[in-house]
C-alpha cells in the first residue's frame, strides 16, 4: 500500500473552513471540559501515576494475568479464544456466527474489530454487521473510516448528516434539526435490531481476578449487544487485562473524564457471565502486541486505554482531521502506534507533530507519546522508509551547523538573500516558509558581529591568557 501523506490530506481539510473550525472547536471544548472535571479531583495526578503503574505492572506480568483471566472467565461459563493475527480473529468470529446461522449481528464500538476489519471480512462471506454506536453507524452508512476513536463522526456538520440520511435513509435533506435526525436514525436502528441474531462488543477492561469484562459506552449500544441476542462475542487485545476489580474503578474515573470531560460514561457495563440461555465468547487478539511488548523502546504504547484525550488536545489533529491519518488509530497515539503495524505505510505519521508535548500531559496512563515520536523518526531515518524528502536538507543543515565558522557562512548567505533578493523570489515556492509567513526583516548585523565590534577587544585585553582560544581558527 502507498505511503500515507498526512500533510497533504490535512492541508485539504484545513482549507475547508467550516469543517475545520467545527472540528477544532468541538474537540477543544472536549479538552476544556476534561480540564474542568480533572481540576475538581485533588488526587488527579496521583491517579494518573497509579493508572500508569498498574498498567506497567500488568504488562510486565502479562502472561500470568492472561492465564488467570482465562481460568476465571472459563469458570464463569465464557468461552475464550486466542487469535494471533487479524485473519485468525476474523475467522474465529465468522465460524461462531456461521455455527449459529447468523446473517445479521450488531456491534457496540470495538477497536480490535476495526483493527482487523471484521466487518469487511464477514460481509464478503454474506453476513452483515451493523454498527450500533451512533457515530460509527453514520460512518458505516457513509462508507468512511472513523475520524476519532471516541467520537467517530465528529468531523461531520449537521448538514452533512442530513444529506447522508436523505441519500441513504430517505429523510428530508433540508431538515438539520438534531431531534429530527435522531428520530430518523432511531427508526432505522429499530428495524435493524428486530433482525439481530448475535451481539458483538469491544472490551475496555478484562479483570483477571474475576474473569469478567467491563465495557464503557455512552449510548447503550453495548448493552443491546449484550442483552438482546442469544450469542455474545467480545473482542479484546491482550493488553486489556488488569489484575483486580478495584482497579476498574480507577480507570473508569479517568477514562470518561479524559475523553469527553464527563464524570463517568453513561453506561459502564460489567459482564461476568452469559445471560440465561445465551452463549458468550471472548476473542483475545495479539496482532503484533507481544512483539511491541518485547520492545524496550515502545512497549509503553500498550498502556493506552483508548480514551482519545491525546487527539482532542493535539493542535495538528484538531486542524487536519482524523481521516487525514488514513489509519484505525489516528492522532498522537496513531503516530506512534501505526508504524509498528506497517512501517512503510505509516513512516511519515511521526512527522505530523510539532512536539508541543500536550498529548503526553493529558494522557491518563502517561504514554510518553512525544518521546516515542522522536523514536519513530529515528527509526524512519535509519531504515530509510519515508520518501527522502528530508535527507538533502538535513545533510545541508549538518554541514552548515557543525561549527561557528560554517554557521556564520550559512547565516551570511541567508541574510544576504533576505537583504538583496527580489521579493517575488523570496515568496516563491523555493521558500516554503513564505507560503504562510512574511519573511523576517533581516537585522543589520548578527550577534557575533555585534559582539566582535563591541566586546571582543575589551575581553581580549582583559584576558590575554585566553589568547590561544581566541586565535585558534581550526574548528
Amino acid at each position: 500500500m502507498s505511503q500515507v501523506n498526512q500533510v497533504k490530506n490535512g492541508a485539504r481539510f484545513i482549507k475547508d473552513i467550516p469543517h475545520r473550525e467545527s472540528h477544532d472547536r468541538c474537540l477543544w471544548n472536549a479538552r476544556m471540559r476534561r480540564d474542568q472535571t480533572a481540576q475538581a479531583i485533588p488526587e488527579w495526578e496521583e491517579m494518573r501515576d497509579l493508572a500508569s503503574q498498574i498498567k506497567e505492572h500488568t504488562l510486565s506480568h502479562l502472561d500470568h494475568y492472561l492465564e488467570e483471566f482465562e481460568k476465571n472467565a472459563t469458570a464463569n461459563g465464557i468461552h475464550i479464544h486466542w487469535a494471533e493475527t487479524p485473519e485468525e480473529h476474523n475467522e474465529i468470529i465468522y465460524q461462531l456466527l456461521k455455527q449459529h446461522n447468523v446473517t445479521t449481528a450488531t456491534t457496540g464500538k470495538s477497536m480490535t474489530m476495526d483493527e482487523c476489519d471484521l466487518r469487511g471480512y464477514v460481509e464478503k462471506r454474506g453476513m452483515y454487521i451493523h454498527e450500533a454506536d451512533l457515530g460509527e453507524c453514520i460512518q458505516q452508512l457513509d462508507n468512511q473510516m472513523p475520524d476519532h476513536i471516541v467520537v467517530p463522526a465528529i468531523h461531520k456538520l449537521r448538514q452533512d448528516v442530513a444529506t447522508l440520511f436523505a441519500k441513504k435513509l430517505g429523510s428530508d435533506p433540508d431538515i438539520t434539526d438534531p431531534h429530527y435526525l435522531n428520530g430518523v436514525m432511531r427508526a432505522y436502528m429499530r428495524k435493524k435490531y428486530e433482525k439481530i441474531e448475535a451481539g458483538l462488543c469491544g472490551v475496555n477492561f478484562a479483570i483477571a481476578e474475576t474473569g469478567g469484562i467491563c465495557v464503557c459506552s455512552n449510548e447503550g449500544d453495548v448493552d443491546i449487544s449484550q442483552v438482546v441476542p442469544p450469542l455474545l462475542i467480545a473482542s479484546m487485545g491482550i493488553e486489556k487485562v488488569i489484575p483486580t476489580l478495584q482497579g476498574v474503578a480507577l480507570y473508569v474515573r479517568l477514562l470518561s473524564r479524559s475523553a469527553l470531560g464527563l464524570d463517568i460514561t453513561q453506561y459502564t457495563t460489567h459482564i461476568h457471565h452469559p445471560q440465561p440461555g445465551q452463549e458468550m465468547h471472548i476473542v483475545i487478539l495479539d496482532n503484533g502486541r507481544s512483539k511491541r511488548l518485547g520492545s524496550p523502546d515502545y512497549w509503553q504504547v500498550l498502556k493506552c486505554i483508548r480514551c482519545g484525550a491525546c487527539m482532542n488536545t493535539c493542535p495538528v489533529f484538531r486542524r487536519t482531521s482524523g481521516l487525514s491519518y488514513e489509519a484505525v488509530y489516528m492522532g498522537p497515539i496513531g503516530c506512534v502506534l501505526m508504524p509498528s503495524y506497517d512501517l512503510h505505510r505509516y513512516a511519515r505519521l511521526p512527522y505530523s507533530c510539532t512536539h508541543c508535548g500536550s498529548c503526553g500531559d493529558v494522557c491518563p496512563v502517561k504514554v510518553p507519546i512525544p518521546e516515542l515520536i522522536f523514536y519513530w523518526r529515528g527509526v524512519d531515518v535509519d531504515k530509510h522508509q519515508s520518501e527522502k524528502v528530508h535527507d538533502a536538507e538535513e545533510t545541508a543543515a549538518e554541514l552548515m551547523l557543525r561549527s561557528s565558522k560554517t554557521l556564520a557562512m550559512g547565516e551570511n548567505m541567508a541574510l544576504w538573500g533576505l537583504r538583496n533578493l527580489p521579493q517575488w523570489l523570496l515568496d516563491s515556492g523555493l521558500n516554503p516558509w513564505a507560503d504562510v509567513h512574511a519573511n523576517p526583516e533581516p537585522p543589520k548585523e548578527t550577534f557575533r558581529e555585534y559582539y566582535r565590534r563591541n566586546y571582543k577587544k575589551i575581553e581580549f585585553m582583559n584576558k590575554t591568557t585566553d589568547l590561544h582560544g581566541f586565535l585558534s581558527l581550526n574548528l
Partner: protein
Amino acid sequence: MKVGFFVPCYIDALHPQAAISSYQLLKRFPELDVEFIERAACCALPLTDMGYHKKACTLERNLVPLLAPYDAIVLPSGVCTDQFRGHFDSVEQTDEVKHIREHTYDIVEFLHDVLKVKSLPWHPKFPARVALHNGCHSLRYLMMARPTELMIPHFDKAADLLGMVEGCEVGYATRRDECCGFGGTFAIWDAPCAGQQGLDKVSDYARNGFKHVVSQDFSCLMHQSGVARKNGLDLKFYYIAEILNGDAQP
C-alpha cells in the same frame, strides 16, 4: 560563577537583539563571570528533531569541549535549552556531557531559580498590557510554568520576572498554552498546518485586545510575527530579555 553564554543559530542570525539584551542582562550581575561561547554553533536540534541522530552526533561532539569548562551554560532560548537537557544523547554520555546537560539553563530559569532574582534594580519600564506566550518546550519540557493539562499548583516563572518590570501587565491568550505551530522544522515541511496554528494564535491575541506579545522562546515569535505580518495584524513581538533589560519600549 563562570557562565558560558550560548547563542542559538536562529537568534544570532535573525533576532540578535535577543542575545544582546540577554548578554547585557547577565553582565549586570557582578558575581558572574560571563563569557560568550563564540565558537559554539548550533545545539543540533534541527537534526535530532528530524531523527538524524548520526548527523546530530557530529555536532554534539564538537560542542562538548566548548561547553564543558563552564559552571553554567545559559541560553536565550527554551527550546535549545531543552535540546541540551533532554535530547543531547546522540553523543556518548561521559561525565563532561552529563555536566553540560545538568548545568544548562534558559535565561528565565537561570534568573528565577539559580540567581533567585527578586527585583530588577536597574528599573526597567514597559507600561503596557502584554500577552505572555510560554513556548511549548519551556512550558511542558522545562516546566517554567504550569501547563494547563497538569492539575498542579499554578506557577509561571516568566510572569514572575515580568512582574518586576514597572507598568508591565501580564495576560494570556484565551487558549493560553496551545501550540502556535512553529515546531522547529515543522513550520517548513507542514507549512499549511503550522500556518493555521499560527494564525489561530495571533488572532487570539488580537481578539483579546493585545498589541504586545512577549515570550522566552523567540523561535515561536519568529513564526507568529511572520504569520501576523502576512495577515496584516498589528502586533509587536518581544523576546523577554529585551523587556527585562529595559531595551524595549511599547
